[in-house]
Amino acid sequence: MMKNLSFFSKFSLAVTLLLVGGTLYLWFDGKELFTEDREKAEATSPDHTPGSVGHSRRIYGFGYIGYHGGK
């Protein structure tokens, strides 16, 4: 069957397979696009108890988010 396909059709087939395959991969492997990169917390032992403030190293990094949204 591939012999009968024009180059355009073959290209379309390849793109379609890639996109559909990629989408199925995202769904079945639990991947999400457009999210921030995952990081690793440092090996220190942070206090994760509810309500704790500032004990995680990552928490200190919140400052860079700098949200100024809203109306």
Binding site: N4, L5, S6, F8, S9, F11, S12, L13, V15, T16, L17, L19, V20, G22, T23, L24, L26, W27, F28, D29, G30, K31, E32, L33, T35, E36, D37, R38, E39, K40, A41, E42, A43, H48, T49, P50, G51, S52, V53, G54, S56, R58, I59, F62, G63, I65, Y67, G69, G70, K71
Partner: protein, 658 residues
């Protein structure tokens, strides 16, 4: 059984059937009519001519638990010169029918007792549609045949050279029939195909597997009566008309006896020249063919001449037509008229709709080769074309005859490979049956859409969509120049609410939720909701796996604005929002949030955080549908242009430039 002597030569003639009306003396070929006084001589017939039939007198067969014997046959010529066999089958119970052969299949026809309305012979026309026994039949041919030879016992009266007016009927699904106008009122016979084992009786004959009957050695070369040169016929026994290659004389062929008809033109000055030589052999679509005839035909519309070439190919399975118009080739074969359902603007064949494309009166400009029918190069035949690329149905009306040909576009490369000696004309424009070469893209697209929808449905049906955290953060009223405290409530575990003090002045309010268990390997949906009105609340957070230390940042904003502007109400946003993040490693996990809120939002406020694991993202379905549609959309635009070019050549243009 009765044995009677032939009144002409005295030979014993057997009369074995009650239904026999006429028998033929095997010695003197006299037609002997049965009467009260014995056999009456009705005149002599010509000897039987060789045909390729595999039936023979005496053959026993069975149909629907009834046994029959092939008791005789009559050879009839039609006005066009073609000869065919009519075999008669006598059933053991006294009924009789007749047998027809076509393409290795055998049909049994029986008389219809109450056929209803039957048009008179003078009224019936090729192409008429008649209804018998609830089924529609197209009149495929109206003609008058002539009995030229016979053998065995025949269940009706006839005399030598008696003329037999008839109308052939063609129905769908292989149905066929005949109206015999030698009777008054005319008799209608309808046929049905015999099963493959119909003749597998004591003689153990299976007509399907016996193979082709041995052919007689080719007769010696025929001699052209016009120039006395020898003509080596390529298809002796099948050729009805041939053009002498020496003197361009069109001749009727009867065995090796030729009769002149008229001189013809073998090459048109207006062209195009013949692209393939006669006798060229090649294999097309797996079948070996030789070119036995060629003609150049044209129609003229509004003073413009539209020529096309027809090459007649002879192969193992019969004749095929290789047509060439504007350098575009189609390979075709004849089909039964009854298989085509006509309508106003289109016809249907095997459920497929063919749109009308062109119509005109075809004339033959040049002709060469051997023809298996009485080709008429001097007439003007109405032709019509209906297209469903890559197929094309061509209808041609002859004298008392309607012919349908089913053709299919064939690439010039394929023709070149089959007939390397041919000089193919360059293609011009878009062929009537030429398929759009990128049409596979649409099929690929349809399968891709199906795969996506099925894949998403399957994923949704197998997704757990498990709520792993349902935490309410109740923010205290916001004091001037500082943060308020907050209370955490876990609605999932129904733990007692815990209250926490505000953050230090100048520090952001950071909340760490209760720990929850993630299975891992699944995406995570984070949904936030708050009762905000013309205000916003924003949380920048992270999922933290306590065992592996993996951190997945995210942010979510809940903002809801509404009002009335110019008398019309409007709204924007909502009181809930969500975001998804990729799968986290399994294990105990917490969410850490830095919450900011609209400075105007000073009242106590509930901020709810709901986390679900394994919630398939429908956004990808729509995004992928859009992306995979880009190339098909482009292909569709190209196809529109292609179709426009095709229909520019049609008598029924589908596209008009306003």
């Amino acid at each position: 059984m009765a044995d009677l002597a032939c009144p002409s030569c005295g030979t014993d003639v057997a009369l074995s059937l009650d239904v026999t009306c006429v028998t033929v003396c095997p010695s003197c070929l006299k037609v002997l009519e049965r009467s009260d006084v014995g056999l009456v001589d009705r005149g002599a017939l010509a000897p039987l001519k060789e045909t390729r039939s595999r039936l023979r007198v005496g053959l026993r067969g069975r149909y629907e638990y009834k046994f029959f014997t092939v008791c005789g046959r009559v050879q009839v010529t039609e006005s066009g010169g073609n000869l065919w066999d009519e075999w008669y089958a006598a059933f053991d119970g006294g009924q009789w029918g007749w047998l027809a052969e076509d393409g290795g299949r055998i049909w049994l026809s029986m008389a219809v007792e109450h056929p209803g309305y039957v048009p008179k012979f003078s009224q019936v026309r090729a192409g008429d549609v008649l209804t018998f026994e609830g089924r529609s039949y197209t009149v495929s041919e109206v003609d008058t045949g002539q009995v030229v030879a016979a053998e065995g016992e025949i269940p009706f009266h006839f005399t030598p050279e008696e003329r037999l007016p008839f109308a052939d009927l063609s129905g769908s699904e292989g149905g066929f029939g005949t109206i015999d106008y030698t009777f008054d009122p005319p008799r209608v016979y309808l046929g049905r195909e015999l099963p493959v084992d119909a003749f597998k009786l004591e003689r153990d004959i299976d007509l399907r597997v016996e193979g082709e009957p041995p052919t007689k050695p080719a007769p010696p070369d025929a001699v052209c009566p016009g120039c006395q040169n020898k003509i080596a016929l390529r298809t002796p026994g099948e050729t009805v008309r041939a053009v002498c290659p020496h003197c361009d004389m069109l001749c009727d062929v009867d065995g090796r006896v030729l009769k002149t008809v008229r001189k013809v033109v073998t090459e048109s000055k207006a062209g195009p020249p013949r692209w393939v030589p006669l006798g060229a052999t090649g294999t097309l679509r797996g079948e070996k063919f030789s070119v036995v005839a060629w003609r150049l035909r044209s129609v003229v519309k509004e003073g413009v001449r539209y020529p096309w070439q027809e090459a007649l190919l002879h192969g193992e399975k019969g004749y095929r037509y290789l047509d060439c118009a504007d350098g575009h080739f189609t390979l075709g074969r004849s089909i039964a008229a009854g298989e085509v359902s006509p309508d106003n603007a289109f016809v249907r064949y095997q459920g497929k709709k063919f749109e009308r494309f062109s119509m005109g009166d075809a004339v033959t400009e040049a002709i060469v080769g051997e023809w298996p029918w009485r080709v008429d190069p001097f007439g003007r035949n109405p032709v019509a074309e209906f297209v469903a690329p890559p197929q094309l149905l061509a209808r041609e009306l002859g004298e008392g005859e309607i012919d349908w040909t089913l053709t299919e576009h064939i690439d010039a490369e394929e023709v070149t490979a089959a007939f390397p000696t041919g000089r193919l004309p360059p293609p011009n424009g878009v062929g009537a049956a030429e398929p759009y070469k990128h049409s596979h893209i649409f099929r690929i697209w349809r399968w891709a859409v199906l795969a996506l929808v099925v894949g998403f449905a399957f994923r949704c049906s197998t997704a757990s969509d498990k709520v792993v955290l349902d935490q309410v953060v109740t923010l205290d009223a916001l004091p001037p120049n500082g943060n308020g405290g907050y209370t955490l409530t876990n609605r999932l575990e129904k733990k007692p609410a815990e209250t926490f003090p505000p953050a230090e002045v100048g520090q952001p309010l950071v909340v760490t939720t209760d720990a929850f268990e993630l299975a891992g390997g699944k995406n995570v949906l984070i949904e936030a909701s708050a009762e905000v009105n013309n205000a916003w609340i924003f949380a920048a957070g992270q999922l933290l796996n306590e065992e592996t230390g993996d951190l997945q940042p995210f942010s979510v904003e809940v903002s809801y604005y509404h009002g009335v502007d110019g008398g019309e109400s409007w709204s924007e946003g909502g009181q809930s929002a969500g975001t998804r993040v990729s799968s986290m490693p399994g294990g105990p996990t917490r969410v850490q949030l830095e919450i900011e809120r609209d400075p105007a939002l000073t009242r106590p406020l509930e901020f709810t955080l709901l986390i679900r694991e394994d919630n398939p993202n429908p956004v990808y379905l729509f995004l992928t549908l859009i992306f995979i549609s880009v190339l098909p959309l482009f292909a569709w635009i190209l196809k529109s242009s292609f179709e426009r070019a095709r229909w520019e050549n049609s008598d029924y243009p589908k596209y008009t430039d306003e």
